[in-house]
């Protein structure tokens, strides 16, 4: 078992824990801002996990996916935060 395989297993477990916590916060989040925040964290974890897979397997096929995710990460949470008013706070 090479060093990078051990890294892959450990990193997979840690990414999984982080993503599960974010999913729990998306489901339970008391306000819509918590949900937007947790969705942002999910997106960051997705970027990191795709990149880690790419680095470990030494290919660059998902590089455009990474670029698109980094460009459009802004849209969802900014639109939620911008057009949110006091009455739809839940």
């Amino acid at each position: 078992m090479s060093f990078l395989m051990i890294v892959a297993v450990l990193a997979g477990v840690m990414f999984g824990i982080g993503a599960l916590c974010a999913v729990y916060r998306i489901i339970r989040g008391p306000s819509i801002l918590d949900r937007a925040l947790a969705a942002d964290v999910m997106l960051a974890i997705a970027i990191c996990a795709l990149g880690a897979e790419m680095a470990i397997n030494r290919h660059t096929d998902t590089l455009p996916v990474l670029l698109v995710l980094a460009m459009f990460a802004i849209v969802g949470s900014i639109s939620i935060a911008r057009f949110m008013s006091k009455q739809d706070a839940s």
Partner: protein, 127 residues
């Protein structure tokens, strides 16, 4: 050598992702969750970008990776700022956890000025 360095960077990024997940699970309000969530968005992505470049060292990869990191660094602070602003305006901030609240003074001054202006507008004699 590059492999070990890249492995350490991947582990760092994975650890930051896990810490952010646990942080948004455990912290009490939106602003403190915001603090936890912004770690993997910049530092985790930066570590992963360096790791990818260490294992695929070519100029084509490097230019795309710089774009990825650049977009991430431009957009994530805006997102965090907007969410924090909306959280303050919709009163999702727990005031008892704040040590200093500098925006409260500004909000008070602005609403006082607004009230004064509307009062002056009402008391103006009708023509």
């Amino acid at each position: 050598m590059n492999e070990i360095l890249a492995g350490v960077l991947i582990l760092l990024s994975a650890f930051l992702s896990m810490a952010a997940g646990i942080g948004i699970l455990r912290f009490p309000d939106v602003l403190s969750r915001l603090h936890a969530s912004t770690k993997p968005q910049i530092l985790g992505v930066a570590a992963i970008v360096v790791a990818i470049w260490l294992l695929n060292p070519s100029w084509g990869v490097a230019s795309t990776l710089i774009l990825v990191l650049g977009f991430q660094m431009m957009t994530q602070p805006m997102t965090a700022h907007m969410i924090g602003r909306a959280a303050y305006r919709t009163e999702h901030v727990r005031a008892d956890l704040l040590i200093a609240d500098e925006i409260a003074d500004a909000v008070d001054a602005a609403s006082a000025a607004e009230a004064e202006a509307s009062e002056a507008g009402e008391s103006r004699p009708a023509e």
